[in-house]
């Protein structure tokens, strides 16, 4: 699964630690999600989407999925 988290974070000039604090997770978790080593739960994905004011599918994309 790919994601636009690094881009969205960079747009807001947030550090990984800052984003982690806003999401209530560790910096290690933010790093793992950004580098696509860890796929977040639906609950965390919703939290991320809500934080950036976007839909989950606008941030995360399953491998091989085509956007309409």
């Amino acid at each position: 699964m790919t994601n636009r988290l690094p881009v969205l974070r960079a747009e807001r000039r947030w550090s990984q630690a800052e984003l982690a604090e806003r999401l209530g997770v560790s910096r290690q978790t933010v790093n793992a999600v950004e580098t696509e080593r860890y796929e977040p739960s639906l609950s965390l994905a919703f939290k991320i989407a809500h934080l950036f004011g976007q839909r989950i599918e606008d941030i995360f994309e399953a491998d091989g999925a085509k956007k309409n």
Partner: protein, 137 residues
């Protein structure tokens, strides 16, 4: 992208301090009681107390460990789950191999070795933790 990297396999923060302190207290009491039981002649009641004494800090450690796990986020909990998933088969492998070598007559394992074999289990858990942490680093 922020590329901060910790030298530790997993980041430890201040919240993990009670866990470390409880583990150190348990280790100190355990090693102390083992030394006393081995080197000092004591009445049975005192020996019983010394033998059971390390269970108290271990219970404190257990509570601290559970509290620590509850404070972790979803990925950190997953790391601990994977650590257990790695450590358990490693323990089976260790015990099975030792048993097979002993059965084949290639090694002689004394009873006292099995008595202290539990000490390897936290080491295997730590190995599992290191492997799992590396994956998400």
């Amino acid at each position: 992208m922020n590329s901060q990297k910790s030298l530790l396999p997993c980041e430890l923060d201040r919240r993990g301090l009670p866990l470390v302190l409880a583990a150190l207290a348990w280790a100190a009491l355990f090693l102390g009681s083992v030394w006393l039981l081995k080197n000092v002649q004591l009445p049975t009641s005192a020996r019983l107390g010394l033998a059971l004494l390390p269970a108290i800090p271990f219970a404190v450690f257990l509570v601290a460990f559970i509290n620590h796990l509850r404070r972790l986020d979803e990925m950190q909990r997953r790391i601990h789950l994977e650590a257990l998933a790695i450590a358990f088969p490693l323990a089976v492998l260790l015990l099975m191999t030792l048993g097979s070598l002993e059965r084949a007559g290639l090694i002689t394992v004394e009873g006292r070795f099995f008595r202290d074999l539990w000490g390897f289990l936290p080491v295997l858990y730590a190995i599992g933790l290191a492997i799992a942490c590396r994956r998400y680093r």
